[in-house]
């Protein structure tokens, strides 16, 4: 990985991004500081969004947490952990429930996130197991079924604007925390049950909750606080990682399930447009494999400098993948939406999902945006085709990037168009 992109890191200190396969920004997405600057220049752009929002200038207040917690990733295995509380009382649930954000404007979503003030206390990840009053309070909060009234005291006035991260939803100002108390809380009994079961493996707990209808964002929140798993293995998990972990674990289990089903019998195509994003999915009548591709248009967040849309993607065969996809957590969020759809229709398929991000799209909002859009797309009625060429012809009408550009990069499309099958050379005789 490192070597592969070594040539795009310039010798001089003047940073210039030269893209071969994809731009540096697309690979980094503010998370890895690949350009060498201490502050992601694109992050700066995001801050414009919050300049009109009111700043909290109090060191202590009461507020209803949606409920919400945050676990940082810098300094791992010692991380900042704390609650997220807005300086207001009432039903704040929506502020940390991305499943309900479809239809909300970017401004509203950003203002939800900016209103949530994040307390910070530095703790080792093992404290999920060893406990302590604060950790236990936060774990309880993470199990909350609805918004909880809390009181929070900071050491300093909260500071910072908005943090944009491709994986997690935006985060607002924070401050080192002195004291935190939850007045009253109704816990989600499904999550509580997993918490008290010290023999239940984390993967099983996640899957049980998912099967029982818990929203992915709630499972992920509890997961980050180290609520699940066999007792000796419990630890805090940075929020950013926990989102991907939960998407990945659930979809992996769903893959094992759908592999027992027949393949879809025709080519199914779904299309969907939302907030300057175009999505399309093709279900190919073959055994499970999956590919997720994105085209960031020039002028979009992670493709500020190039003059052409940057197409990148990642793929897994029937046998799965062993490395983390370059494209990031959105891979697993999409895989989750796709596998839950296939489980619903009790079929397997080879699935390609593509997304175009048009220049008007203001801000990456987290992988929930992809998960919920793909879910929404797969709830619509598909167009049905007998062959791949007709399916692609149909998609062509909805997408801006020409199909050949997708095909050049797509493992699944190239495989479908160029790879022959044994069936092409044998006569198959099905007995019964």
């Amino acid at each position: 990985m490192k070597d592969r992109y070594a040539h795009i890191i310039p010798e001089s200190t003047k940073v210039k991004v030269v893209s071969r396969e994809a731009s540096l920004c697309l690979l980094c997405r503010g998370g890895r500081r690949l350009c060498g600057k201490s502050v992601c220049p694109i992050d700066l752009k995001a801050r414009a969004f919050v300049k009109n929002l009111n700043v909290v200038d109090k060191k202590e207040f009461v507020g209803s947490s949606p409920p919400s917690v945050f676990v940082g990733r810098f300094g791992y295995p010692k991380v900042f952990v704390g609650p997220m509380v807005p300086p207001m009382l009432g039903n704040t649930e929506i502020m940390d429930l991305p499943e309900r954000w479809m239809g909300e404007s970017v401004e509203d979503i950003v203002s939800y996130r900016y209103s949530l003030i994040r307390g910070k206390v530095l703790v080792p990840i093992e404290s999920a197991r060893t406990g302590g009053r604060l950790i236990e309070t936060l774990q309880e909060l993470a199990m909350g079924a609805s918004a909880a009234d809390t009181e929070v005291q900071f050491l300093k006035v909260p500071f910072g604007s908005i943090i944009i991260d491709d994986n997690s939803q935006p985060f607002g100002p924070s401050a080192p925390m002195k004291h935190f108390e939850v007045a009253s809380l109704k816990v989600d009994h499904r999550i509580e049950k997993a918490y008290y079961d010290g023999d239940l493996r984390a993967g099983d707990a996640v899957m049980d909750l998912y099967t029982n209808g818990a929203p992915v964002s709630k499972i992920q929140r509890a997961f980050s606080m180290g609520i699940f798993g066999t007792l000796k293995n419990r630890r805090l998990v940075p929020t950013r990682w926990s989102i991907t972990a939960v998407d990945s674990v659930i979809s992996q289990r769903l893959i094992e399930e759908i592999k027992d089903y027949e393949t879809v019998d025709k080519y199914l195509v779904f299309v969907h447009a939302y907030m300057h994003n175009n999505f399309a999915a093709i279900f190919i009548p073959r055994k499970w494999s999956f590919e997720w591709m994105e085209a960031w248009f020039p002028g979009t967040f992670w493709n500020p400098s190039s003059s052409l849309p940057s197409v990148i993607g990642d793929y897994e065969s029937y046998w799965g993948r062993t490395t983390y996809p370059d494209i990031g957590g959105c891979y697993f969020a999409t895989r989750l939406a796709v596998t839950e759809f296939l489980r619903g229709i009790r079929r397997q398929a080879t699935v390609l999902v593509i997304r175009e991000i048009l220049p008007e799209f203001p801000l990456p909002l987290g992988v929930w945006f992809v998960r919920e859009n793909v879910r929404s797309m797969l709830r619509s009625k598909p167009a049905v085709f007998e062959d791949l060429r007709s399916a692609l012809k149909y998609i062509k009408k909805f997408m801006r990037v020409p199909i050949v550009k997708w095909a050049e990069r797509s493992f699944i499309l190239k495989d479908s168009l160029l790879q022959r099958r044994i069936d092409d050379y044998v006569r198959r005789v099905d007995l019964l």
């Binding site: 592999k259 073959r286 055994k287 499970w288 494999s289 065969s317 029937y318 190239k414 495989d415 168009l417 160029l418 790879q419 022959r420 099958r421 044994i422 069936d423 092409d424 050379y425 044998v426 006569r427 198959r428 005789v429 099905d430 007995l431 019964l432």
Partner: protein
């Protein structure tokens, strides 16, 4: 009832590995002449065709045809326990949906593997007249495949002028491997016509797992047609793979 004894349990272990590299589940057919299995990989790009005749076994009893459907991951895990100098006994009673796998060495260890009731998909092998037939040491072929993997996911195999050429190119560079008779690495080459075709390296390298069973590989192919790769076992029996070609992008 089916009962077969192999003098060396590791032969069966290698056979299982040569199949499980491509296939998740499959049906062995045991009949009075021996055991065979034919299965395709989930993407239907490759096929494995295995046969182990009665004569390869130390003793073999099977009165009538019996399907034995197995999950290869499970069977592979059992076969990993095969020890040096251990005999292997396979046994299935008529009514039992289980296969007994017994290792006989200093101790006797018996595993019981639940069998699967898999539908009967009768597969026939591709019928192709191959233009090129090349015999070479399995290790030489393995090296050529590994060389190609350095630069690409696909490999072009060419037979011409009494030579086998293995070439690959991609973003990561280019490689060309020449295997000639002079070097002694090309044991034989029969050409009806020059031939070349492109194949997936992912599959080829999976197939090379069978090189544990045979030092010699026999490669057959035709222009833009499936490839056939044979590994003949020293004590009779063989593993044959078929791999569908890939068309070159225009």
């Amino acid at each position: 009832m089916f009962k077969a004894v192999l003098a060396d349990s590791r032969i069966w272990r290698n056979i299982i590995e040569s199949i499980s590299t491509l296939v998740e589940e499959g049906v062995f057919i045991a009949d009075p002449t021996g055991i065979r299995l034919r299965a395709m990989d989930p993407s239907r790009v490759a096929m494995v065709d295995m046969e182990l005749p009665k004569t390869s076994f130390e003793s073999y009893e099977c009165a009538e045809e019996m399907p034995i459907g197995v999950n290869f991951d499970d069977m592979k895990n059992i076969m990993k326990r095969a020890g040096v100098n251990e005999k292997l006994e396979l046994e299935k009673l008529e009514k039992e949906a289980r296969l007994k796998i017994r290792f006989r060495g200093k101790t006797s260890r018996t595993f019981s593997l639940p069998l699967l009731d898999l539908g009967k998909e009768e597969l026939s092998v591709p019928r192709i007249s191959f233009l090129a037939t090349v015999k070479l040491p399995a290790a030489t072929l393995m090296d050529a495949i590994k060389d190609a993997e350095v630069v690409s996911d696909f490999v072009k195999i060419t037979a011409e002028d009494e030579k086998l050429k293995v070439t690959a190119s991609g973003d990561r560079g280019e490689v060309e491997v020449e295997i000639t008779k002079d070097s002694g690495e090309l044991l034989s080459i029969e050409l009806k016509e020059n031939a070349h075709a492109l194949y997936s390296l992912t599959y080829l390298s999976k197939m090379m797992v069978a090189s544990d069973l045979s030092d010699i590989a026999i490669l057959m192919f035709s222009t833009d047609m499936p490839l056939r790769l044979d590994f003949n076992l020293p004590n009779g029996g063989r593993i044959v793979y078929y791999l569908a070609p890939r068309m070159e992008a225009e």
